[in-house]
C-alpha cells in the first residue's frame, strides 16, 4: 500500500515537474499573425549566469510581435534536450532556428533536417562542429580578443612591476581558455610575473580563499586578474578584510570580466580598475541578419564577431553603466 501511495506521489511530482517545465520551455508569443516571422530560439538555461540572464532578456525583448516576430523559446543545458527541441521546432515549421548550443558536437543531423525543411539556422554565442553550409551565420564573442584587450590595457598602465594573482574560471570553458591565453602569453614574454594561478570555477568564495592564502603567505602582489566579476568581487572581499587598498591609484589593480551592472558601478566608484565586456546582446545582430535574409540579401561574413569593450575606471560614465551593465 505504502509503495502504491509512494508511486502515485512520485508520478504526481513528475507530472507537476513536467507541467512546470512546460510552462517555461515553450511559450508561443503572440497570435497567429500571417506575416509574422516564426523563430524558434534554443538557449541555455537563463539561471546559468548573469550573462545568460541578460542574453535571454535581450532575446525576449527583440523577438516580439511588435517587432514582427513570433518566437518560441526552449531552454536546456543538455545537448540532447536541445536537439529534441530543435526537432520540435522543425516540425512546427519555424522560419528561423536560433541556436546557442550546449555542446559543440552532434548537431549535423538535425541541422540537415532543418535545411531540408527550408529553415534557416543562425548560431549565437556558441559555435558548433558542423559544416558551415548548414547555418547562415554565427554570432560569437572572441574570448581570446577579450583577454588580449585586458592584458594590453594592463601593460599600458606603466606599473614598475606586475605581480599578478590570476583567478581562472572553470577549466576548459571557452571563456577561461581565451582569457587565460593572453595573460599566459604576457608571462612567457616576461612582461608580467604571475604570483599564483588558480581556478576558482567562477566562484566568489573560492576566489576569496585563494587571495586570502596569498595574503597569508605575505607574497607581494599588485594586480588581480579575475576571469569574471564574481571572482573579482570575492578577491576584493579578501583585500578589504586585510586592509589592502585597491582601485584607481591604490595598491592593487582589480580586473574583472562580464560587465555586470554592479561591477561597473564599482568601476564608477574607482574601487576596481578594469572590466572587460562579454557581449550578451546578440539579438540586434540576429535581427539585422534576418532582415537582410528576408530582403533576399546575402550575408557576406558567416562568422560575426561582436564588438566588445573594455572599461577603464578613469573613463567610464554612468551612461556606460546603464547601457552595457548586465
Amino acid at each position: 500500500m505504502k509503495k502504491k501511495v509512494l508511486a502515485v506521489f512520485m508520478a504526481a511530482a513528475m507530472v507537476l515537474g513536467i507541467a512546470a517545465c512546460g510552462g517555461n520551455s515553450a511559450e508561443p508569443a503572440g497570435g497567429k499573425g500571417g506575416d509574422l516571422i516564426k523563430v524558434g530560439i534554443i538557449n541555455n538555461d537563463p539561471n546559468e549566469s548573469g550573462y545568460r540572464t541578460a542574453n535571454d532578456k535581450s532575446m525576449k525583448e527583440m523577438f516580439t510581435k511588435e517587432n514582427g516576430y513570433e518566437a518560441s523559446f526552449a531552454y536546456s543545458l543538455k545537448n540532447d534536450e536541445q536537439i529534441n527541441a530543435a526537432q520540435k521546432f522543425i516540425t512546427d515549421g519555424v522560419d528561423y532556428l536560433l541556436l546557442s548550443a550546449a555542446d559543440t558536437a552532434g548537431w549535423d543531423g538535425v541541422l540537415k533536417d532543418a535545411k531540408d525543411a527550408g529553415i534557416k539556422v543562425i548560431l549565437f554565442d556558441r559555435t558548433i562542429d558542423a559544416d558551415p553550409s548548414l547555418y547562415e551565420a554565427s554570432i560569437v564573442s572572441d574570448m581570446a580578443a577579450e583577454g588580449q584587450q585586458a592584458v594590453d590595457w594592463l601593460l599600458a598602465q606603466g606599473l614598475s612591476e606586475y605581480n599578478v594573482i590570476h583567478i581562472q574560471g572553470a577549466m576548459g570553458s571557452a571563456a577561461q581558455i581565451g582569457r587565460t591565453g593572453a595573460l599566459d602569453a604576457a608571462k612567457n614574454d616576461g612582461k608580467v610575473n604571475i604570483v599564483t594561478q588558480q581556478t576558482a570555477t567562477w566562484n566568489a568564495e573560492n576566489a576569496q580563499q585563494i587571495v586570502q592564502s596569498v595574503i597569508d603567505a605575505k607574497t607581494p602582489f599588485n594586480v588581480i586578474y579575475a576571469e569574471n566579476d564574481d571572482m573579482a568581487k570575492g578577491a576584493v572581499a579578501a583585500l578589504d578584510a586585510a586592509g589592502i587598498s585597491h582601485g584607481v591609484g591604490k595598491d592593487v589593480v582589480v580586473m574583472g570580466f562580464d560587465c555586470n551592472k554592479w561591477a561597473l558601478e564599482e568601476l564608477l566608484k574607482k574601487n576596481w580598475n578594469y572590466d572587460g565586456q562579454c557581449n550578451p546582446f546578440q539579438a540586434s545582430y540576429i535581427d539585422d541578419i534576418i532582415k537582410k535574409l528576408e530582403k533576399g540579401e546575402s550575408i557576406s561574413e558567416k562568422t560575426i564577431i561582436m564588438q566588445e569593450k573594455g572599461f577603464d575606471a578613469n573613463t567610464i560614465t554612468q551612461e556606460d553603466v546603464d547601457k552595457y551593465g548586465i
Binding site: 539561471n47 549566469s49 548573469g50 566568489a204 564574481d230 568581487k233 578584510a241 587598498s245 551592472k261
Partner: protein
Amino acid sequence: MQKNTTKKSGIGSVLGGLVRNQIFIPIAALLLLVLFNLIVDPTFFNISVDVNSDGYRILSGPIVTVLNFGSELAILAIGMTLVTAASGGQDISVGATIAIAGSVMLRVLCGTNSRPDTLQAPIIVAFLVGCLAAMLAGAFNGVLVAYFKIQPMVATLILFTAGRSIAAWVNNNELPVISDPKFAYFGGFLPGIPIPTPIFIALGCMIIIALVLRFTTLGLYTQAVGINESSSRLNGLNPAFIKFLTFVILGVCVAVVGLIKVSRISSINYSVVAKDIEMDAILAVALGGNALSGGKFNMWASILGAYVIQFLTTTLYKCNVRSDALPAYKAVVVIILVVISTPAVRTWFSKVGKSLKSKLQTKEVA
C-alpha cells in the same frame, strides 16, 4: 566496549583507548597536517595583527583563515551528523538549500529592487524568513525520508537538482547586491573585534548543540533510531518523527551557513554558491569516524573533521597546489578512510594492538 578490560595496563591502554576512540581519526589527520606544515613552512602558524580597510585591527594568518572558512562546514557537519545517525543516509541537497536560504534572505532584504540603497527589512527578519525556507526544505526532505521511506540520497536528490533553480526563481533571476556594510558583518568582522564573525557563529552553534545533547534526549534518541528502528519503536520512540526532526535541524544549520555565505560577498551566485559543499559535509562526518550507515555518532569528531578538511584546503592553497586538483586530494582521504573502516583492516589493527599490549604487560610484570 573494551574499555573495562584494558583499564589495568597503563600507557598501553591509554594509547589503545585513544586509537580505538573515534576522535582519534580526525586528530591523527590534523596532527599529520600540522606536522606537514611545520616541516614545509612554519610560518603557517604565524598570526599577525593587521588593520582592515575599515580601520579596525584584525587577526590574520593561515590558522585564522582555517577557522574562518571552516565555520560553514563545521556548522553543516552538526546537522549532517544527526541526519546520518538517525536516517543512515546523507542529505546531498545542502548546497542547493543554502542557495535557497541565501536567496530568500537577500529577497527579503532587497524587496523588489535588486540593488537597494537601504535595507528593506531588518537583517534578523531576513534571517528568520531564510531560516523558515531552509527548514521547509529540510522538512520536505524529512517527510520523504521518514514517512515515505525513500532512501535519503534519492529523496534529497530532488532538491539537489531543483534547489538552485528555485533559488534563482526567488529573486526573479536577478543578482541582488547589498551595499549596507552591516550585512557584511556576518561573513566578515564586527567593528572593533579582531576575530572573524563566522568563528563566533560556529562557536555559538557548537555551544547550542552541546547543550542540546547534554540536556535533551535528542542524541540518545537519534542513535537509538539509527541503531535499530524497530526496537526503538517498541521502546516507545517515534522513529519517523525523530528522523524528520534531524532533517529540520539540518535545515536550521543550512540557514546559518546561508547567512554567512551571502554575507561574505554581500551577493549571491545561484549556480556556484556553496557548490559541492554537501560532499565536504559528508566527508567531515566520515572523517569523524562516524558510520555513514547510521547509529552511534560523535559530534565533536565530525566538527573536528570539518576543520581538518578546511585545514587541508588552506594548506594546499598555501602550497600553490592547483585548486582543481583539490578534489583528488580529498579523494585520497576518502580512500584511506574507507580502507581503514573495512573489517579486514580493523581486525589487523586490533591484532597489532593486542600484541603491543601484551608486550607492555610483560614488561610491567618484569
